[in-house]
Symmetry: C2
Subunit: 362 residues, 2 copies
Amino acid sequence: MAGRAEADNVAMRGGYSLATIGAKHVIDGASELVMDALDAMELAKGKGAFLITDMGTADAGTSLDMMGTAMARVRKAAPGRGIFLIYTDQAGNDYNAIVANVLAESSPLPKIDELYVSMSPIGFYRQIVPAGELDFGFSATAMHWMNGKPCNIPDHVHMTGATGKAREMFTEQGRRDWETILLHRARELKPGGRLVFCNFGIDEEGRYLGNTGGISMFDTFAALWQRFVDEGTITAAEFEEMTLPQYYNTVDEFRAPLEDTSSPVHKAGLRLEHIETRVVKCPFREDFLKHGDAAKFAPAYVPTLRSWTESTFRGALVPGRGAEAAQAITDAYYQAYVDIVCESPEGHAMDYVHSYMTISKQ
Amino acid sequence: MAGRAEADNVAMRGGYSLATIGAKHVIDGASELVMDALDAMELAKGKGAFLITDMGTADAGTSLDMMGTAMARVRKAAPGRGIFLIYTDQAGNDYNAIVANVLAESSPLPKIDELYVSMSPIGFYRQIVPAGELDFGFSATAMHWMNGKPCNIPDHVHMTGATGKAREMFTEQGRRDWETILLHRARELKPGGRLVFCNFGIDEEGRYLGNTGGISMFDTFAALWQRFVDEGTITAAEFEEMTLPQYYNTVDEFRAPLEDTSSPVHKAGLRLEHIETRVVKCPFREDFLKHGDAAKFAPAYVPTLRSWTESTFRGALVPGRGAEAAQAITDAYYQAYVDIVCESPEGHAMDYVHSYMTISKQ
């Protein structure tokens, strides 16, 4: 899942850099919610192994510290129960990278008694474990990736800039995707089980990733891509095809299926215990505020945007162009973004905006 | 695990070739034992999910058909229970290859309701799942790989050719490794659970892999490697370092910890329900018997031997030689084996010799 994969490429090289620290901050910031949820579960009274999933984990690197702390809590609270931790992501994920991280010398997991790690290639749009076996589910910065793209957005690259029919179609599928995620979790969870999610979304003030009061990152993406059409570099069809398969729920949209008593999610027993939005500052922007050098900021900042958008931009170009020409267009595109930031760095920042939720199963 | 990895490199390219069909025959031949073991377990009476492990699975390709049949049996016998299938191998295995195989269009697993697949990087020398959670464990052609190398064999490359102190050390560690494997499984298994293993071993007539009445494959390996010493291509130290970390148990050795009432394995409740040895014919040899062309047989046959021995031969050469020189020596070594088979093909065959076992937990 790109939000975390971006960070994880770096985590694999050992240690945390600017590119990974933002995603890690989001998860570390969820630690208290996770601990509270675990404490509420009366772990010692549970029977059999304690089963936990980390959904959309990428290479498991950014959640490793939080997960070590959480698993140590379970270990202490329920000394008699084995712990079964399952990392899951989509089928195309790199599972060998998860193994390298969770078994690394620096990993906290091998030091926890009776903790058993496993990996599932199922992702969160299907059921991951047998019904009624799950104690706790965690996910961070992953569930904004939709279960396929509902349509192309004719005049933007992201649903936050979509209007009319396209916006309606994204909203409708966003609703169904969130319901699908929750219904599978409802089936997996034991009664009394908990979920803690940190999901990209739109907060009460209308803020979202890369749009927290300064320049909108997604508007910049779209304007630059439109410039490439105007200059004849790409076609109008290629502009349209570049549509990120992402949906950012508002707080009300996250709440709806959990609070509407007629929803199948509510009927399945899921209840929202807590929801809050948080902004985690862009570490590149923070760094720039210290050094003030735009020529240093711009080429450091743009690759983190590139890491989770490039495959969609590349995929929008018609195959007939050939790999070399497509690469040249893509390179020019991100270079143009660097140039914009370099010339006028004010307001550029990829601040993270998440809804943090705790959900229980009755 | 090399015995199956050899096959699986080919399985990944789609379909079964000669290189994979032998390993697949071994597992398909275990199907009846697996079905009998499942039938003996009164599956419908069990509670919670049915948990099964495939240990030392490599890319899961060679067991896929058998596993599909077995899981369909569980599905039918216990319609109310979810099935949780966990593939495991050592940390360095390619887990992405497992995902590709189990989720492939041709895989039987996605067609089985309420079957959930996962992967563990733990291998069989440690506990894979929490205590008391396992219903059924399977392993084929994997447990001959030792938990490290006890010593170098001064005058051979494999324990079947070792004598004196080296043989004693291999035998002692082989005993401990088998006990370790079984004790972890005893802890994992529910009472009434079963294990079915097809392990490389030495049969009642003294036969083992590549030594079933014709020319001994391991003696050929050793004699050729000695020739490289005599010709000055490698050093005596490099000869010694080439020691395969494998142990082939005799039938009595497989039996011992399961039948000796003073053994911790017996005390932990594991009981041997069935053991038999089988020889599965070398598919390359079978093919040669049809076409009779040694020049075709030799270069087809030797790569299958190379696939699971090359890393150990390469690893025995001192790093100071450099990668290119080491590659040249390795290439020359397997070419020499091809030349031998080509000149005198009679008796060359990598027939598989396994002990097939069913073990229960009281």
